[in-house]
Subunit: 413 residues, 2 copies
């Protein structure tokens, strides 16, 4: 089954409100095997709403319409549906009674305005609102199942979960098709290099009917989403087989699946080895440590961190001779290694992580802004690597933190 | 002028990604006096994209198309535009050279895939991408100005701000009404307390035609957006007058206007006083330091930070006697004060900031999860305050970091 989602409200079009409803509804519909093909938002205007209905209705089996059910003059959804489908309205006394009760129980007077929320489409089934005054509605128009829900997120979600999703799941048209989905997480490799690495898997997956693979790059890693609509156990097996092949092809570049995180992978690896970490991070300013401490129980693996932001503190706290900085620069292989080794021996941990860089706009004569050195020390060996990020502080900090966690992950696994 | 926004990508339709781009673009277009009438999202499918173009093009003067410009097989935007408008593609050697340079400067090889990003519509003006490899495009089709931008938020935003918004602002079709808008930033005060404090200003603003005030609460502070559509200098003066009154009414609760940040306010105050800071942060895990180091030149005011995540390090590095923890608990007024004073004297700075808390799910017998103590020391006095945040690690970390910066800001101003 194909679905479209229409959201109505000027607040969306002027950018005052982030349309999180449409993401939530899409995720839920996808989860029960419905393919969402269009999201459309229009303002509180009759011609816009009817134009939207014309565009969407013919192409979908399910149409979810959200918003425009309030009590004021600019709430036009029900009237627009009435005009477009030529269905008269009916006045639902029972629902108006519930609105009155809603206000009475909150010790507030019901206004004349609210009576507007008692008008439903004659042919529609009412969907009760258990936390507000705007009722939802369900009607069939041709082959399209139309659901009308309020724009208030928790009212909409309650109707979706209580009534709409269960109704759709029982719909014979849905068939036995389910959507299988898994998103592999990679780090330390760019989108095009990854595409090249798994080229033959991508080609094979594309040749399998109903299966799709998407590359989702971000500032901190590329995610790979494998997806398939399945209705037989053979199809399900094919999906599992490709997922395994894909994971193998990614090798060390993947560290898990959604909803995992890179810091969780590092945390798990250290716990498995019963080892501890100390961090000396300069240009990342605490971001690596903050990511590691997002996880409950982080004190089991992270002893602590030092952010020696002024160079002098690197000498004072990590006993790195000032001559080393004179000779090689503060942002250098020697400096990063000395930081990783220094913090490791200072606090007696198994692992030390050292990060030093210029995030810009300034650099020095050795290194332009965007240069970052990352070192990992474990007492036996210290590995360091140089990175060149874009000259933009916040994004370079994010990328440097991700690559630092990734360097540690690769050393641990 | 009327605008529509088309965003392309399966990740939107399956609900994997929140469409924040469309909100950002809408807000900016509205800000320069353009009326956004439709948001449409479709998947990575040729027929869907051309169908979307058909639906949108006839009804708008400006069409912004985002996404589907990547180097992989499922990026179809340019090809769809080529088919729908019957415009052949051209291969932009100059841009491919820039892509090569982009990879070279990052020490990574360019793949064959990326050459796809060198194809532009023959009649389009190229919009350079200053932080990625997908070029933007501009073309006129009939009366419609069409802009094509990448889906990666910061690449899109850069093109909008450098090229697209300035071009639209110079467009003769735009007319003379301008939207004035200013967003005051507050911290350390909740929405209802703030509403009470500025009650009479709110009432007055609501009575002025065309002027509006919105409360925008978030996890880290409440923003106040004052907005007005103006076409005369009198209206502009009225806006300025209300803005000043509003700022005065907020007093110490406001620290600036967007796009300012709390860390910038702290940075500025320390620079003005020519004073320095050292931070000992435990439960926030580095977030306070990371926010401070987002600002270029942070080493002028931040000497460094210590994250003594294991309690032992608090004793070892800050000379806090273990008996203090036994007597008062690790999360206590005494502990936070000792951390702020300890880090200040250890590194000889003017100010010391100490943060200790339990972010949950666990606490201890003294303090439940969500309890955080924040202390600010300047050598003369040390002030500490207790906070109870919700028992949710990431949000509690964010709120604790915001309140820590706010405590420092209030002590400095």
């Amino acid at each position: 089954m194909k679905a479209s989602i229409l959201t109505i409200g000027d607040e969306l079009l002027i950018g005052q409100v982030l349309n999180s409803n449409v993401q939530w509804i899409s995720e839920r519909l996808t989860g029960i095997g419905i393919t969402v093909t269009r999201h459309l938002s229009v303002g509180d205007e009759m011609a816009e709403i009817t134009g939207a209905l014309r565009f969407l209705q013919s192409s979908c089996d399910v149409l979810i319409i959200g918003g425009g059910l309030g009590p004021t003059h600019d709430d036009l959804t029900v009237e627009a549906l009435s005009r477009y489908f030529k269905i008269p309205l009916r006045y639902d006394e029972e629902w108006v009674g519930k609105i009155e009760e809603f206000f009475r129980s909150r010790g507030r007077p019901m206004t004349e305005n609210n009576k507007k929320q008692g008008y439903l489409l004659r042919d529609a089934e009412r969907i009760d609102n258990d936390c507000g005054t705007a009722p939802g509605q369900f009607l069939m128009e041709g082959r399209t199942r139309i659901f009308v829900v309020p724009g208030v997120p928790h009212e909409m979600k309650s109707m979706m979960e209580r009534v709409i999703l269960p109704k759709l799941m029982k719909d014979p048209a849905l068939g036995s098709t389910r959507i299988l989905k898994e998103t592999l997480l990679t780090s330390g490799i760019g989108e095009s290099a990854l595409a090249q690495r798994i080229h033959s898997e991508v080609e094979r997956i594309r040749s399998i009917p109903g299966m799709s693979l998407a590359f989702l790059p971000s500032n901190v890693g590329v995610r790979l989403r494998l997806q398939m609509a399945v209705s037989t156990t053979e199809e399900e097996a094919a999906f599992r087989k490709e997922l395994i092949a894909l994971r193998e092809a990614c090798g060390k570049d993947t560290f898990g699946s959604e909803p995992g995180t890179l810091e969780e992978a590092v945390h798990r690896l250290l716990l498995e080895r019963n080892e501890t970490l100390a961090v000396a991070e300069s240009c990342t300013g605490g971001l690596v440590s903050q990511r590691l401490t997002r996880i409950a129980g982080a004190s089991k693996i992270l002893r602590g961190s030092l952010i020696p932001y002024q160079t002098e503190l690197k000498t004072l706290e990590l006993r790195i001779p000032a001559t080393l900085f004179d000779q090689f620069g503060v942002v250098s292989e020697a400096s990063a290694k000395a930081m990783a080794e220094g913090i490791r021996s200072k606090w007696g941990t198994d692992w030390g992580l050292g990060i030093t860089g210029y995030l810009g706009p300034e650099g020095d004569t050795h290194s332009p802004g965007g240069t970052v050195w990352i070192a990992v020390a474990n007492g036996t060996q210290t590995l360091a690597r140089e990175f060149h990020f874009e000259n933009h502080r916040e994004r370079a900090q994010e990328r440097a933190a991700a690559y630092a966690l990734d360097s540690l992950r690769r050393a641990l696994s």
